[in-house]
């Protein structure tokens, strides 16, 4: 069962900052190379990184370098190459924060041609 609401998934093309900030999980919109277009409040608080600092930087290499491996960034790149991405898995963040197990969902919305990284602290 995904932690991402169906309502959000159905309307990603219209998901602006207020919508993203209202979610109780991390919502990160990235381009095909991984450059952050939108970094919501939850993710900002979880990672301790200001949205203004994060946006415009590469999520996988500059903002969350712990994701720079085949398990995470590799899945993203594979999905982008195929034009279809929907992968959910568990991960642990250890970069400049206490060990934090999280659930992750990587998603590409075909309708709006946008890419998303959703993150929620594991229960």
């Amino acid at each position: 069962m995904s932690f991402v609401s169906f309502d959000l998934l159905d309307n990603l093309g219209d998901a602006d900052r207020p919508v993203a900030d209202a979610q109780e999980y991390g919502v990160v919109k990235v381009d095909d190379a991984g450059v952050i277009l939108m970094y919501n409040k939850y993710e900002s608080e979880l990672a301790g990184i200001d949205s203004r600092f994060a946006e415009g930087r590469n999520f996988f290499t500059q903002v969350a370098p712990c994701t720079n491996n085949r398990l995470f960034f590799g899945r993203f790149k594979d999905g982008i190459a195929k034009g279809a991405l929907d992968a959910q898995f568990k991960y642990t963040f250890t970069y400049k924060m206490r060990p934090t197990p999280v659930d992750v969902r990587l998603y590409r919305d075909g309708g709006s041609a946008t890419n998303w990284v959703f993150v929620k602290k594991a229960a």
């Binding site: 290499t61 500059q62 370098p65 712990c66 720079n68 491996n69 398990l71 995470f72 898995f89 568990k90 991960y91 642990t92 250890t94 970069y95 400049k96 924060m97 206490r98 060990p99």
Partner: protein
């Protein structure tokens, strides 16, 4: 172990020469000048930061064991390192890094030593980031393979990343971005760097 696909030194040289020829006229002297200017600028910024920080005294304080002991104990608690040997191992492994940074700061305290001190801080940064990448691999590949990481590994990953955070403060965003970009794919980047150096070298 030598990988079967690893080219010999001579083979690499020949490969570079072919690639440089392929690059052809795109690598002219103006590019080299721009690279030199950019490098001088960011190194100048780092040197200024180091001077303003009152190094080496600042470095000694920043990485003193008295500053780090509470962090080590907190990381051990957060990760669940409860046993005394585990906590001692953690303190010892971090202590070795701290002693190294202290010793460098002691030995390179003169103004004319600054370029060397800067380089050694870069070594320390790359070392810390490389170690953290390995620990991150152990943690997350372990999880993916159903082998949960040890509490000590988790605590060590957090502490090494905290050292990185402290060094981040010294280096500044521009230098950090460049080093991070390099470490994103060190082998291809090292090859490309060498290739560019060959391309820029006068005939």
């Amino acid at each position: 172990m030598v990988l079967s696909s690893e080219p010999s030194t001579e083979g690499l040289k020949a490969l570079y020469e072919r690639l440089v020829q392929t690059l052809g006229d795109s690598s002219d002297g103006r590019d080299r000048t721009a690279v030199d200017e950019a490098l001088a600028r960011v190194q100048g910024c780092l040197d200024a930061t180091l001077r303003q920080g009152g190094l080496p005294r600042d470095l000694r304080e920043r990485f003193s064991f008295s500053v780090w002991l509470p962090r080590i104990l907190q990381a051990a608690d957060d990760a669940g390192v409860d046993d005394e040997p585990g906590r001692s191992n953690l303190a010892r492994s971090l202590g070795e890094r701290l002693i190294k940074l202290h010793t460098l700061a002691d030995l390179m305290g003169e103004e004319e030593d600054l370029p060397d001190l800067r380089d050694h801080l870069v070594f320390a940064y790359v070392e810390a980031k490389s170690e953290w990448q390995q620990l991150n691999g152990i943690v997350n590949y372990g999880m993916a393979r159903g082998r949960a990481p040890s509490a000590e590994t988790l605590a060590r990953a957090v502490l090494v990343s905290t050292i990185i955070a402290d060094l981040d403060d010294l280096f500044g965003t521009e230098n950090i971005d460049v080093l991070t970009d390099y470490l994103f794919a060190p082998l291809p980047n090292a090859h490309e760097l060498t290739l560019r150096r060959h391309a820029f070298s006068p005939a």
